[in-house]
């Protein structure tokens, strides 16, 4: 370039350059407009919501959960207010020194409290953090007196689960706990927020949707520091609906009292409709420990217990039914015309199949007996001889008809389907081929047979009521706090078990003789004036060649499981009961006696039976030091 100037002395090049700049500036302003259009017109709604979220803060107010009640309205589980100390960090000047002061005041560990605060540090500073839960009245008054020195700290009243009967029925009612981040992501829990508690097991879990109320909220307009500005809008929380169970309050309490020190389960049910009258599983646990997130100490003590307190043994524990299965075997044999009730068959002390020898529980057995006596005395060899003629698949067919080996469909979570062997199922499950000897074990409820107490009691209910199989249920109705019935459960008839009435009557007669005849295995469960029918059972935990033994000499976990399942009265049965006393933990009244006491109580309540003075006295003094296996 020779010159910046044109010939007439005008600075031409410079003017070109200013033009270039003008064009660039115009282009930049245009780009700005495009960006503004994008932000405000295209994305405007999105940013508008963001700005609104910026300015409003929501603090959730937990709604009390609904109560869990007995059918007659007595409270099993409810909510109470707990006093908790909370802190709003944005209002505290020196967090550490004030926490130290609080710790000294309340006799708590400072580090422990500090850890709790630190855990919640990601929360916005206006949100209260609960640092001490469920404080005592004494602590509360100490706090109130020193309130002046604790700015930013306050007492928060929070509803908390309350268990008036502590451990009773804990597995059935279930426990609650703080909702986890995983649960929050589930679609079915979309109504929950992070500070909520949630039903984790049992009815608390199954009917969570109803028990959980509507959380309230505090809406606060805040500035960027989280300081509240202007009005606070409060929406009050609404308590959840009340759950009326089918449980009979007195019966439930009695059942737990009887089972408290044992390991096992009891279910009482109305055989005419499947209503659960009582259900307990023991040993139990204190569900309160879970409601705020269980501590390591409590958790390991519950989990470390080999009697599995968390398991609801009534529906989750599938074990060998033992001789209670003989009712099924009898019905199968009768229906298949292998025997008639009165037909006498020889039953000896042993039964030989090929080289294998199968023993009777009573080594002195050596006579021809009919079905009634076989049931009443629980004669194993009688069943061995019909077992070889029935075959495993036919036997299973009748077990299935009675609802064994399948979920009953009770409205509680985690039901175990159990297992009833057929040749095919055993191969599918265990990759084993069937051999005939197993049929003999299966017919007396051993080997592969696994049933839950609930299946057993429903099967016996079907026998008792003349062949109607019902679905058991534990929820009577759900009633909102305003008194509106949100849901009622009606008895659900599943099917007729398709076994002739005369065969059912024959088996029922045998079951009655179990209690009524002097040689019956449950003679100690006799109820004066009531036809109480049932069947004992003892399921081996390990196989033994001896059949009578001193219970004290055997380690507890190898002791047999004792069963009793029965119903009363014979005509128009009002109650069916199953008792599972695992590993016969205690000497004394056995499973049948526990069942008897429950039946007595229920019939007494219904005005169908009255205890006599003499009867009451004799209660305590029948503790046998030997019990028999394989009844």
């Amino acid at each position: 370039m020779s010159s910046l100037y044109s010939e007439n002395g005008v600075f031409k090049e410079q003017k070109n350059r200013i033009n270039i700049i003008a064009v660039i500036v115009t282009a930049l302003l245009f780009i700005l407009l495009v960006k503004l259009f994008f932000l405000q017109v295209i994305m405007g709604g999105y940013y508008y919501d963001l700005a609104r979220d910026n300015a409003t803060r929501v603090i959730y107010l937990a709604a009390p959960r609904g109560d869990i009640l007995s059918s007659d309205g007595k409270i099993f589980v409810d909510d109470e207010s707990s006093f908790n100390i909370a802190v709003t960090l944005s209002r505290v000047k020196n967090v550490r020194s004030e926490l130290k002061f609080l710790a000294v005041l309340m006799h708590r560990n400072y580090r422990h409290i500090l850890k709790k605060v630190k855990k919640e540090e990601f929360l916005p500073p206006y949100e209260p953090i609960i640092i001490m839960r469920n404080i005592s009245v004494k602590q509360l008054s100490r706090f109130e007196v020193n309130k002046l020195f604790l700015k930013g700290f306050f007492v928060a009243k929070i509803p908390i689960r309350h268990y008036p009967y502590v451990k009773m029925g804990a597995q059935i009612f279930g426990y609650v706990g703080p909702v986890s981040s995983v649960q929050l992501k589930e679609a079915k829990y979309s109504y929950l927020n992070s500070s909520d508690i949630i039903g984790e097991t049992g009815l608390e879990y199954y009917y969570q949707k109803y028990l959980h109320g509507k959380d309230g909220e505090k809406r606060i307009v805040v500035n960027s520091k989280g300081e509240p500005i202007g009005k606070v809008i409060v929406k009050k929380p609404e308590m959840g609906a009340n759950l009326y169970t089918t449980l009979d309050f007195t019966l439930q309490k009695l059942a737990y009292k009887l089972m408290k020190k044992r390991e096992g389960a009891v279910i009482a049910v109305n055989p005419e409709n499947g209503k659960i009258l009582a259900m307990v599983s023991t040993p139990s646990f204190n569900p309160f420990y879970f409601s705020e997130g269980i501590s390591e100490k409590h958790w390991s003590s519950i989990i470390g217990n080999d009697e599995h307190p968390l398991q609801n043994k009534a529906i989750q524990n599938a074990i060998a039914p033992g001789s209670t299965f003989k009712a099924v075997a009898s019905l199968a044999a009768l229906s298949l015309h292998i025997i008639t009730p009165k037909e006498k068959i020889y039953a000896g002390p042993t039964f030989k199949l090929g080289d294998a020898v199968f023993y009777n529980w009573n080594p002195y057995q050596n006579s021809k007996i009919n079905l009634y006596k076989a049931i009443a005395e629980s004669v194993d060899t009688y069943y061995y001889s019909i077992g070889v003629r029935i075959g495993i698949d036919q036997l299973a067919k009748y077990a299935f008809k009675l609802g064994l080996g399948k979920k009953t469909g009770i409205d509680l979570p985690g039901e175990n389907p159990g297992f009833i062997p057929t040749k095919r199922l055993v191969y599918e499950r265990y990759r084993r081929h069937w051999y005939k000897g197993s049929t003999l074990s299966a017919i007396i409820g051993q080997s592969y047979d696994l049933v839950t107490p609930i299946q057993l009691v429903m099967a016996y209910s079907a026998i008792a009521n003349g062949g109607k199989l019902y679905r058991p249920y534990i929820l009577e109705k759900i009633v909102s706090q305003k008194g509106k019935v949100l849901r009622t459960m009606k008895p659900k008839f599943i099917r007729n078990i398709d076994i002739k009435k005369k065969y059912l009557d024959a088996v029922k007669k045998g079951l009655c003789e179990v209690v009524s005849k002097s040689y019956g295995t449950a003679v100690n469960a006799r109820i004066r004036g009531i036809k109480f029918c049932g069947k004992t059972g003892t399921a081996q935990v390990i196989s033994k060649t001896y059949s009578i033994y001193d219970i004290k000499s055997v380690p507890r976990k190898y002791r047999d499981n004792a069963w009793f399942v029965g119903f009363a009265p014979l005509k128009n049965p009002k109650i069916a009961v199953v008792v599972l006393d695992m590993h016969a933990k205690f000497l004394g009244a056995n499973a049948a006696v526990i069942a008897k006491k429950i039946v007595e109580k229920y019939l007494e309540q219904k005005g169908l039976w009255k205890p006599s003075k003499h009867h009451k006295k004799s209660k305590k003094n029948n503790i046998p030091s030997f019990i028999y296996t394989s009844f």
């Binding site: 010159s3 910046l4 600075f11 090049e13 350059r17 405007g44 999105y46 910026n54």
Partner: protein, 370 residues
């Protein structure tokens, strides 16, 4: 009475002056609307102070307009030296008090000498280029003195530390060199030097300065930290939508979510209240000022007027574009006020002085008319 000379008034660009006053008035309204809901006084100290500064800047404008710009150019080196001394004073004061210091206090009002340096530098460079005029264009060697004149204040201001102002001073200097007639191949070499020294400078930056630039690239990375400003600003702008939330309803500013809502982020405050339509109006107003400015510069008959006007226009344009670009996320966050609109005395005086310089040039065009 030279000021009342008929030819002066004939060539006086009233459009620029009125547009600037409209922008300032919008700024005052906006300032009212942005006040925190904590303190809403009619006699708000921010508004009152800004009005006082307006009066001060009008007086300074009158002073600048009344003096022939050629006279001012004569005094350029003195002005330049004077401001430079102030910058050094600020720097030393900052060293003693161990803090960033950009201000010199004059009783009630305080001002930033670094802002005034923008004007002083233009005058000094114009004086240099008009006394050593080179009609064939400048190569790099002949530009050593102007470069020194630019780099001294740039480095001092960067030390304060005020990277934003420092860069703007640098750009204004470069614009003048560009307009004065740097040779094209020298321009390329200069660009090359800047490209090479860029990465070296990166390591000289303070960590917060680095993070501002990194965050500009990924604002969401540090939502509550360094990315907070730009995200809150974009929320404010976007929330305005087409028609705005209305006067006084910009929640981002009234609830103090926006940092520097009166100064650097005043544009976001305005955008939430008045929306895209309001933004369009404001940008058109700036466009009018800038285009009128270009016209004045383009029509200047002598190099003095041309370069001086170009520099003055560069100040206004840079401020406006950088500020608006930054608030919508098109540029990293640097502390640059929006001309005539942001709260702040010194910047108002500087931008008004730039306008006064343009008016001065347009008004005295008659001298060269035949």
């Amino acid at each position: 009475m030279k000021i009342l000379n008929n030819k002066y008034t004939q060539n006086f660009d009233f459009i620029i002056l009125f547009t600037v006053i409209i922008i300032f008035s919008l700024g005052i309204i906006n300032l009212y609307g942005s006040l925190s809901i904590h303190h809403k006084d009619f006699f708000d100290p921010y508004v009152i102070k800004q009005l006082v500064w307006f009066v001060v800047s009008i007086l300074i404008m009158a002073l600048i307009i009344s003096i022939d710009y050629n006279t001012l150019i004569e005094a350029a080196y003195y002005i330049y030296g004077f401001i430079l001394i102030f910058i050094v004073i600020v720097l030393v004061k900052g060293r003693i008090t161990h803090g960033a210091s950009r201000w010199i206090s004059l009783g009630v009002l305080s001002f930033q000498p670094s802002e005034l340096m923008k004007i002083a530098l233009i005058f000094a460079l114009v004086k240099y280029f008009t006394t050593c005029e080179n009609k064939k264009g400048y190569n790099l060697r002949s530009l050593i003195i102007p470069f020194i004149m630019i780099l001294i204040p740039v480095l001092l201001i960067a030390k304060e530390p005020d990277l934003g102002t420092s860069l703007i001073v640098l750009f204004i200097g470069l614009i003048i060199i560009f307009l004065a007639g740097i040779k094209r191949n020298s321009m390329l070499i200069l660009a090359g030097i800047i490209l090479v020294t860029g990465p070296v400078l990166w390591f000289r930056l303070k960590s917060y300065q680095k993070s501002r630039i990194l965050i500009f690239l990924h604002p969401a990375k540090d939502y509550l930290g360094a990315g907070y400003n730009i995200i809150q600003s974009e929320i404010a702008v976007g929330a305005g939508r087409l028609f705005g939330d209305g006067f006084g309803n910009g929640s981002q500013s009234t609830l103090d979510f926006l940092p520097a809502k009166h100064t650097d982020f005043i544009f976001s405050t305005y955008m939430q209240q008045f929306g895209f339509i309001g933004g369009l109006v404001l940008i058109i107003l700036y466009f009018i000022v800038i285009i009128r400015g270009f016209k004045i510069v383009y029509r200047a008959k002598k190099l003095q007027g041309f370069l001086l006007g170009g520099g003055a226009l560069a100040i206004i344009t840079f401020h406006a574009i950088i500020n608006m670009f930054m608030t919508v996320g098109l540029l990293p966050v640097v502390g640059v006020p929006l001309p005539f609109f942001s709260y702040g005395g010194t910047s108002l005086v500087v931008d008004m002085s730039a306008v006064a310089i343009l008016l001065n040039i347009s008004m005295r065009r008659y001298k060269f008319q035949s």
